[in-house]
Symmetry: C2
Subunit: 341 residues, 2 copies
């Protein structure tokens, strides 16, 4: 770390530190000539003000924290990409924390962040989170917080999501219209906002088409092997589903693998559709019909909102609860025309 300080610059130029500081922030109470002299030396010595001293004094860290439940998930990666983009534009730094769907870790991180290390937080809660005290405690400190995707509706904080229920409805409806009547819905256990919204979209579609009695809801956990086992038993029971709708990208991969293992043909024997942001989904065998979430946009929008909060700007009324639509891409795993063998 360079040990050249504001004070040294000041000495060198026979100025006071305050003048140098003001020059650097282009204060109107410094003459142009002095500013130029300061900037010249600063540039020459490649001086950078110490961010910790600055943060301490100004009580601003120019840093935000992004808390995500997992990183090996294209959705969160794209969100992060959007966030980083906006943060960079605003001159902010991005701290990343991964909870690995662990509630305790989430609590610890939020607790730790109460120190003033960051000016704001963006979070998608862990699947194991049912209690929100750690979040309310944080918000009560007055530090801006924005939820994205997996939100906590009851809290007074902006939420940026996609239209999960609508998207799930459309996906289910699509499956119904292509002839499916026994559609299984695979979702993450716990009571995440997205899970319940997606489930209700699924159920609503079944209801509208009089198929509510056929509902098959399977709640899977994070353990890959357990999920695999649940999917297997789904195919081994007497009343097999004729379609699978997975609410989580990862589950679609597991489902494909199980189908391969059990030699079940997609889409002939079972159709498939999934929430997924995998760019490679179109290369799957068969290509996977997917609900693509506007991940990048969610990242950008929620970051935008966070910075408005940080800058104490008024939020537009529409920015309290932002919903960006997903879109459905139909591919071979759930073809519109039934493939006849």
């Amino acid at each position: 770390m360079s040990n050249i300080t504001l004070k040294k610059i000041a000495e060198e130029l026979k100025l006071s530190p305050s003048t140098v500081s003001r020059s650097l922030r282009d204060s109107h109470e410094i003459s142009q000539e002095t500013k130029d002299r300061v900037r010249a030396l600063v540039a020459k010595l490649d001086f950078q003000p110490n961010p910790h001293a600055s943060s301490l004094r100004k009580n601003k860290s120019k840093t935000i924290a992004v808390i995500i439940p997992e990183i090996e998930n294209n959705f969160f990666v794209q969100v992060l990409n959007g966030i980083e983009e906006i943060a960079q534009k605003n001159g902010y730094h991005v701290l990343i924390y991964i909870t690995h769907e662990n509630y305790q870790r989430e609590v610890d991180i939020l607790h730790m962040l109460r120190s003033g290390r960051v000016d704001g937080i963006m979070i998608s809660v862990a699947s194991s989170t049912t209690n929100f005290e750690h979040l309310t405690a944080y918000v009560e400190l007055g530090v801006p917080l924005v939820f994205f995707d997996r939100v906590c509706e009851i809290m007074d904080a902006p939420c940026v999501t996609t239209d999960d229920a609508q998207a799930a409805f459309e996906a289910t409806e699509h499956l119904i219209k292509t002839g499916c009547s026994k559609i299984a819905f695979l979702s993450l256990d716990g009571n995440l906002s997205i899970s319940s919204r997606r489930r209700s979209g699924y159920l609503e579609a079944l209801k509208q088409y009089g198929l509510l009695n056929n509902k098959i809801i399977v709640e899977c956990c994070l353990d890959d092997e357990a999920t695999r086992q649940k999917i297997r038993s789904l195919f081994l029971r007497e009343n097999k589903p004729d379609a699978i709708f997975t609410a989580i990208e990862k589950f679609s991969i597991t489902t494909y693998e199980v189908c391969k293992e059990l030699q079940i043909k997609i889409p002939e024997q079972v159709k498939m559709i999934s929430f997924s942001n995998l760019t490679a989904a179109s290369l799957f065998n068969p290509s996977l019909s997917a609900i693509i979430q506007p991940a990048y946009g969610i990242g950008r929008e929620s970051a935008d909102i966070l910075f408005r909060l940080i800058d104490r700007k008024k939020l537009l009324p529409t920015q309290k609860k932002v919903i960006i639509p997903s879109h459905l891409v139909i591919r071979e795993s759930s073809p519109v025309q039934q493939i006849v063998l």
Copy 2:
């Protein structure tokens, strides 16, 4: 941000700030009784020392920066995952910066980081980086820096990579052994360390099998459409390749798409193999043979090394240049037995 400070704790307990500070760091010169009193109040008030004040005084930020060229790439995501894991264990925070393969952005980030904001840097350089002054200038400041994957060999900084040349050799050899003689190698343009190492592995295999005259090297850039066009023309030239070996995951996806478009069958008409960390590669149509890099391990190992440097611990001699082997997974896109139609 909580406005409760060390000083207030001290007043409340009728102690001096120094005593409180020492109590919190478990100094031996504080009686157990006092420590207990301090800790009790600290716990009760949920006090957290201001990190900026602490960083300023101790000249330690407890933060590292991770600079990656792109994030929508499974390899870097897994590396990041490993890094975050180790950082968390060491009580460190992780700042993430994405260069988007942009040299100037990389320069700017490194310049900005010369302020003492972080205690160390982990970086994989951008493909457009040919000049390393920004890196040497940084290292000369005495701040630890570790390279991973895309390294700069000539610099005196630890490097953690995989055995690119060996892996590329084996992949090429595999293609040759399954009957291919016109193997095209698709790599990223620019002179990245990984590109040249992978290329040399490819060339070495061709050489050993007397196929050097058949070498086909295509350098692609980041523009997706340009890459697509280059791949198309590869298939449209008179002397078509009978195998494609892509050094970058993204290129394999584009290649698959082009093959679909041109109705070229993999592996019947052209075999494929790629460097890739996509978990879903096994679900491709056909499933993609891949060189899987130990991304998570690279992340963990390079973070480990960085923290040794930060703690001024001696590096083991083996930690100056760490090479973690990749492994080849053969799938349907380059079957061992030739599929006869």
